[in-house]
């Protein structure tokens, strides 16, 4: 392929004839050069196109020429001169582009803003209603399946237990351990001023048992398990696997949602327990290394000064967190539309909603137990 020649044109106007003479190569790679100048052309009379000097021509070139001819005159142009495919191509392009441009309605700024506000509000309302509907449907399905355990899909429950429970254990233990260390360090710095470093034990005990162990578990699950559930179900939705399921008489609620909900309700307390123990271990470590509190003394003090109630307060939240994470994940997964973009945006929504819900629910629990005096 030789280097393309620069496209050129000349417009010659005589008394009642206008001739557009084109030369050089008019292809998708070259037409930009003349595009601006061509748009500026004006004429009124009948136009003739002379293609005798034309080199290579493709549809892009033909389109630009045809557009210019239309712009010059309403009447169809005559084409003169010899060229391999000019007449054919320009004709082809002329035929397909001979339609009226659809006009778009214009919008004012204020009206647009009001419209968006209203739409946003209505979306929020319908979102809440849908969430409640989904919650109800999930509860009904799950209870029905729990009462008829032979209909449960044990294989998928075990598989979810493994990937969302067992596989999440190391990361939760690791993170809780470090959170325990951080709390112990910060506590020790403040308590040292009061000369009562040994109270770090109570600090760690209350914080990890009651709040941080289960909270860290919830957050990790919201980031890790929640996103993977949404992506799994969303991909199935995108590829119409869920539609296929329904036509085969399988209910997505039974097959996809219930096993995940049940597995998470079971797995989260175990994970929270591991997280709590790891967090306390972090505290023990800091106490031992930095504060000269012997591990035996630490555990002894923990047992005598931190009531068992605190452990149960923390543990009671775990199944709720697991349930909420799985519920949000499944709902957003089922909401995915047909495009990759919606999969991405639903996964983001899912994770954000899950973390948000966990923190809000934790606050509600805190108020509840405070009122109860525990």
């Amino acid at each position: 392929m030789a280097n393309p020649n620069t496209p050129e044109f000349a417009l010659e106007t005589s008394d009642e004839q206008t001739v557009l003479r084109v030369s050089g190569d008019w292809t998708v790679r070259t037409v930009q050069i003349v595009d601006e100048d061509l748009r500026a052309l004006e004429s009124g009379a009948g136009v003739t196109l002379d293609v005798s000097g034309l080199g290579q021509l493709d549809t892009a070139g033909a389109f630009v020429i045809d557009r210019t001819l239309r712009q010059l005159s309403d009447a169809p142009a005559d084409i003169v001169g010899d060229h391999r495919n000019a007449e054919n191509l320009i004709g082809q392009v002329h035929a397909v582009t001979d339609v009226d441009e659809p006009k778009r309605p214009a919008h004012g700024g204020l009206v647009d803003m009001l419209e968006r506000t209203g739409r946003g509000f209505m979306n929020m309302l319908s979102e809440s209603r849908d969430m409640l509907a989904f919650l109800g449907e999930t509860l009904v399905t799950t209870f029905r399946l729990v009462l008829t355990p032979w209909k449960l899909r044990w294989t998928s429950i075990v598989s979810v237990l493994e990937e969302a429970g067992l596989d999440a254990m190391p990361i939760i233990a690791f993170l809780s351990f470090f959170v325990g260390m951080v709390v112990a360090f910060i506590g020790a710095t403040t308590l040292r001023d009061l000369g009562s470093e040994v109270f770090v034990v109570e600090l760690i005990g209350f914080a990890m048992l009651r709040e941080l162990g289960v909270m860290m578990t919830g957050i990790v699950l919201a980031g890790r398990t929640n996103s993977s559930f949404t992506a799994q179900i969303g991909t199935m939705k995108m590829r119409q696997e869920i539609d296929a399921m329904q036509t085969l008489g399988l209910k997505p609620m039974d097959v996809l949602v219930a096993p995940r909900i049940l597995a998470m309700v079971v797995a989260t307390p175990v994970l929270a327990f591991v997280g709590t123990i790891a967090g306390i271990a972090g505290g023990v470590m800091v106490g031992w290394m930095a504060l000269d509190i012997n591990p035996a003394l630490f555990l002894d003090r923990l047992q005598s000064n931190v009531p068992l109630d605190q452990f149960w307060v923390g543990m009671s939240k775990a199944p709720v967190f697991g349930f909420v994470v799985a519920l949000i994940a499944c709902r957003q997964g089922l909401n995915v539309g047909g495009s990759v973009q919606s999969l991405g945006s639903k996964t983001t929504t899912s994770v954000v909603q899950a973390i948000f819900s966990i923190i809000v629910i934790d606050a509600l629990f805190a108020i509840f137990y405070m009122e109860m005096g525990i």
Partner: protein, 254 residues
């Protein structure tokens, strides 16, 4: 010599692990023809397309496209070759986060210096040329039907006016009327633009309506190449059954 043939495949071998798809495969494709590739399911029609377009590395043998071997080219030359072909994948492979018009504009933005305005105008023209209505431009691929998606994919494949067009089962899954329109469209475009078309298909009607020559793949190589009439006389059980079966006879009837 290389001018007559736009693609030359010699002694090609492709394999996935120990599973050999092609072995000792030779095929020449002439400039300006529509060649249909047929063969039983799983015989490696799509793999051959992937091998020619460089998506699947051959285990042995050589493939020359435009007289050049792809694996010997540097990045710039390779991009030049890639600009001169268009590929339409089986289920469209449109970018689902872009509208149809943006999909068609992707190769233009990447490979040319067209202004955004001209880009848009050209994309709209390609969309119309592929037989879609103008209002399909701002739609997302997920809003289109299967047939419209195929047309949109064709519009994207044609975006840079390629010399060589690869079509992977363009009419699969379309109703007979839409499929016939699509055949006519391919034929028209091929005539108007002087394209060479590499057409993988199962559809006997498409072969009748569009192809100059047909290559039959099977037994890991090209069994036969020729016009429909030549192949009809070709003595091979699969080929005989293909053209002699109820669908093959029906297609020959008109």
């Amino acid at each position: 010599m290389t001018d007559d043939f736009i693609i030359r495949i010699r002694d090609l071998k492709t394999a996935y692990g120990s599973h050999v798809v092609h072995e000792h495969l030779d095929l020449d494709i002439r400039r300006g023809e529509i060649i249909g590739i047929i063969g039983p399911s799983g015989c490696g029609k799509s793999v051959l397309l992937r091998a020619i377009t460089g998506l699947k590395e051959p285990a042995a043998g050589s493939i020359e496209v435009f007289g050049k071997r792809l694996e010997t080219l540097d990045a710039e030359e390779r991009a030049a070759v890639e600009r001169s072909w268009g590929v339409m994948f089986q289920d469209g492979a449109l970018f689902s986060n872009l509208t149809v018009r943006e999909n068609v504009m992707v190769p233009m933005k990447e490979h040319t210096e067209l202004s955004p305005q001209l880009c848009r105008e050209l994309a709209d023209m390609k969309i119309l040329m592929a037989g879609l209505h103008a209002d399909a431009g701002p739609k997302f691929p997920s809003d289109l039907s299967g047939g419209m998606r195929k047309r949109a994919a064709l519009a994207r494949a044609l975006a840079l006016d390629p010399e060589l067009l690869f079509l992977d089962e363009p009419t699969a899954g379309l109703d007979p009327i839409t499929a016939a329109n699509f055949d006519a469209l391919i034929r028209d475009l091929q005539r108007a633009l002087g394209l060479t078309v590499f057409l993988v298909t199962h559809d006997v009607d498409t072969l009748h309506a569009t192809c100059d020559r047909i290559a039959v793949l099977g037994e890991k190589r090209v069994l036969a190449v020729g016009t429909i009439d030549e192949l009809r006389a070709f003595d091979h059980p699969w080929v005989q059954e293909y053209f002699g079966g109820p669908r093959g006879r029906a297609a020959a009837g008109h």
